[in-house]
């Protein structure tokens, strides 16, 4: 059934301090809303349990992208459009810029935010594998103060996050140390735009003296949360890319993931494609080295 707007509160405190004060008040359970590309869909379908929303779209502190010598800090309410058009992000964090370009269409990229993608905690979120391989760290803020959490520890399980009821994601920071790496991003969905992934991959790595170093692989849509393929990465480290390795890697990927059948795809298809995407990354990494 459709939602009745008369049953929902939406307040706009207008600055971060006022937002946090309200979120800290009793009774708690204010739900922050930025661009609304996820929440408004739930709301319109009558499936949004929270009746008290707090507007964070217009909070300037959450919309900044700050570049430091060793890191970049992205405000949680920065849109996909702002990520895509940022020079440093495009150059040094191409996996994130590419994932931003996959998300929805232009209209949703103009409204959807990186912090929203994280807080929404979908296992199919396109930008999250990129955050995993870039060692992203989140700053969570409340009236009690701020704390930093490695993004890899943020999603405790399906749709579960480390956020307390009074906390907000303030920013996402990433170390600027991956610009020399080879990167590969690939989404497999029903169509390019406006389709949620069946499987998506963010991969980083480099080659030194013929052997792979610091290989980083993260997949979306094949487990309850986006995750790093730690075992497979371990197998690859220090190895040369030879055909026999590809088969070993595909088996390892299949063992690490736990895909399900759902409306978008099947577990069997996802397992096959996940292995193929990692193999494709290795082939490209190998070709890159040959060209270098």
């Amino acid at each position: 059934m459709r939602a009745d707007p008369a049953e929902y509160k939406l307040v706009s405190p207008g600055n971060l301090h006022a937002v946090l004060s309200l979120m800290a008040g009793k009774p708690a359970q204010w739900l922050p809303i930025a661009g609304g590309t996820d929440l408004m869909v739930l709301y319109s379908a009558g499936k949004l349990p929270n009746r008290k929303l707090i507007n964070i779209w217009n909070i300037p502190e959450l919309r900044k992208i700050e570049v430091f010598p060793d890191s970049i800090r992205i405000g949680a309410a920065c849109t996909y459009t702002s990520l895509r058009s940022h020079e440093i992000i495009s150059r040094e964090f191409p996996l994130l810029a590419t994932a931003a370009s996959w998300t929805g269409g232009i209209a949703n990229q103009n409204r959807g935010t990186l912090g929203g993608n994280i807080a929404n905690a979908s296992p199919a979120a396109d930008s999250l594998p990129a955050l995993l391989v870039y060692d992203a760290e989140l700053t969570l803020i409340s009236v009690r103060g701020e704390r930093r959490v490695a993004y890899r520890n943020f999603h405790a399980g399906y749709k579960q996050t480390a956020l307390a009821v009074d906390e907000l994601i303030r920013d996402i920071s990433m170390p600027r140390r991956f610009s020399g790496y080879f990167s590969h991003a690939r989404k497999v969905g029903a169509r390019n735009a406006q389709a949620i992934s069946k499987v998506c991959l963010a991969a980083l790595g480099r080659i030194a003296n013929g052997a792979m170093r610091d290989v980083r692989l993260a997949l979306g849509s094949v487990a309850p949360v986006p995750f790093r393929l730690n075992e497979t990465e371990h197998i690859l480290t220090g190895k040369q890319i030879v055909p026999a390795l590809i088969e070993t890697v595909k088996k390892s990927v299949a063992q690490e993931i736990s895909p399900i059948d759902d409306i978008r795809s099947t577990a069997r298809y996802r397992a096959a494609v996940a292995g193929n995407l990692v193999a494709e990354f290795l082939e490209k990494l190998s070709a890159e080295r040959a060209n270098a």
């Binding site: 707007p5 507007n55 735009a193």
Partner: protein
Amino acid sequence: MNPSQPVIAKCEILLTVNGEAKKVLAHPMERLLDVLRNDLKLTGTKEGCGEGECGSCSVLLDGMLVNSCLVPAAQASGAQIVTIEGMSAHALMAPLQEAFLECGGAQCGICTPGMILAAVHLLEKKAEPAIADIREGLAGNLCRCTGYMQIFEAVAKAARRRLTK
């Protein structure tokens, strides 16, 4: 309505629509789409899916293409909104209209206002779009009649015509 739920009061929302200052009384979580169609009687903005997938309800909000079905009215407070009705005076409107007509870019018409606004949003940023740019710029707008090629062609033609004028 469920009688156990408290009723949230309507609030006054000031916004500029197609260059005119407007004041509407709306619930803060009312969709901008409904405010435009029901309160302001601007029915050129269409509702297709109501969940941000189809682009029929596209409008420009402070110059950005958005799906108005996903914007709560309170977030449009103080904003500059342009709907398809406001495009008549736009320099791109005549070339786009002509090219859509010539190429068969419009059939049933439900997607057309959104397609035009997405095209304007694209052409304002990129005067000479490649076909890949056009495909990407319009990827959030679904059309169940034309098969898209006529629409892409129309946008390319409008862009060329505008440059040669």
